[in-house]
Amino acid sequence: MTADDAATLGDRLIRVESEDAGLRRRYEEGTLALRERRLTPGQKALAWVGVPLDFALAAAMAYHLWAGPAEPPGWSALLAVAAAGLTAIGAWTLHVLLHGGRVPWRADRAFQALAVAAGLGLAAAAFQVARSLDDRRAALGMLAVAFVVAAGTGTGLAVEWMKRLRLEARIAALENELRLAELSRDVAALGRDRGDGRPRSDASPPPA
């Protein structure tokens, strides 16, 4: 049985219809946009305002750490993490803007990873600050901040992880079902071929 013999009416109808190559090309160029999303003009304008502010704030923090009065170690860590986080976010936004506001899927993922790392870093730094504070009330307040940031980041991560696990389990089950379905289809086709008296591709020659 050739592939053409097996083609359904639907397959043949599709084959019969001619298409304009120019229209197809234009369509394919259009679908490239699915691999990325574009910032709206409003978002772009906001980003252009935000990037210099972002870098200026990061630079001010870095300068304060370098040349400012000595801070307790916890505060220094908090400032360092915040400066690093702001620099990373600014760099990411600038990268997107310089590429015409296009955000490819990988850049979105990178931003998510960055947000998680920044959240955990901020929580750790706030915890250090809480430990270094002498005022008990202020220390408890800072500890609460550390807890809320860590819990928020952790919950987000856990929910994402659970969702992925559930989806991966469903995919694994479906892949098993697919293998079974393909196997039974092949067996049925083999049975049909035998019934038709057609030679099988792996048929050995009859004994002499």
Binding site: Y27, T31, I171
Partner: protein
């Protein structure tokens, strides 16, 4: 009962798309593009409109596929999205569309007739001569061998109306094919 491999593969691709695998959606597009384009070209008058509607179908599908509750229902969902996109081209015409067929669909006999795949070219030409409502149901029926209930879900009409449209479309097609090949009408019977 063992399912057909093709919908299982689609379901896997939908779940992989939800996991964030960019190649899964591209694979879905590759698998569905020819059939959706054929369907859309039966709905809109110009080929360029069909390509535009197909592009917008993918945009909408990419955005909303994560919200599809049952990935197993992808086929009807995709056709419905495509139909909605074509409808925006046809809004003006749809106001002038004739009302539902006056015949009571429950009185219609089942027309199990299906043309021979060998006659695809003649069938394609005959489908073009049908009205839009008939063209649509017959395209879904021949492309996908869709059951009436699923076609009704796609076109947003009662099953009875779909049955009636399919009955009339097949009758017209059969007549056109018999006229196309005088004396060879019996050859088209495939029950």
């Amino acid at each position: 009962m063992q399912r057909d491999p093709s919908p299982i593969r689609d379901e896997i691709l939908v779940l992989k798309h939800r996991l964030g695998d960019p190649s899964a959606f591209e694979e879905l597009m590759r698998r569905w593009e020819p059939r959706l384009l054929y369907y859309l070209r039966r709905l809109v008058p110009q080929e360029a409109d069909a390509w535009d509607a197909l592009q917008r179908t993918w945009m909408a599908a990419f955005r909303d596929l994560r919200r599809l509750d049952d990935p197993g229902a992808l086929r009807a969902w995709l056709y419905r999205v495509a139909r909605n996109q074509a409808a925006s081209h046809l809004r003006a015409e749809s106001a002038r569309r004739p009302p539902a067929d006056p015949v009571d669909p429950d009185d219609l006999p089942d027309l199990a007739w299906t043309p021979d795949p060998e006659d695809a070219e003649a069938v394609h030409a005959a489908i073009e001569a049908l009205g839009p409502a008939h063209r649509e149901v017959v395209a879904l029926h021949f492309l996908e061998a869709m059951p009436l209930a699923e076609i009704a879900e796609v076109v947003g009409a009662p099953v009875g109306t779909v049955k009636s449209r399919l009955y009339h479309a097949k009758r017209l097609l059969r007549r056109a094919l018999e006229a196309h090949e005088p004396g060879g009408g019996r050859r088209h019977d495939r029950r």
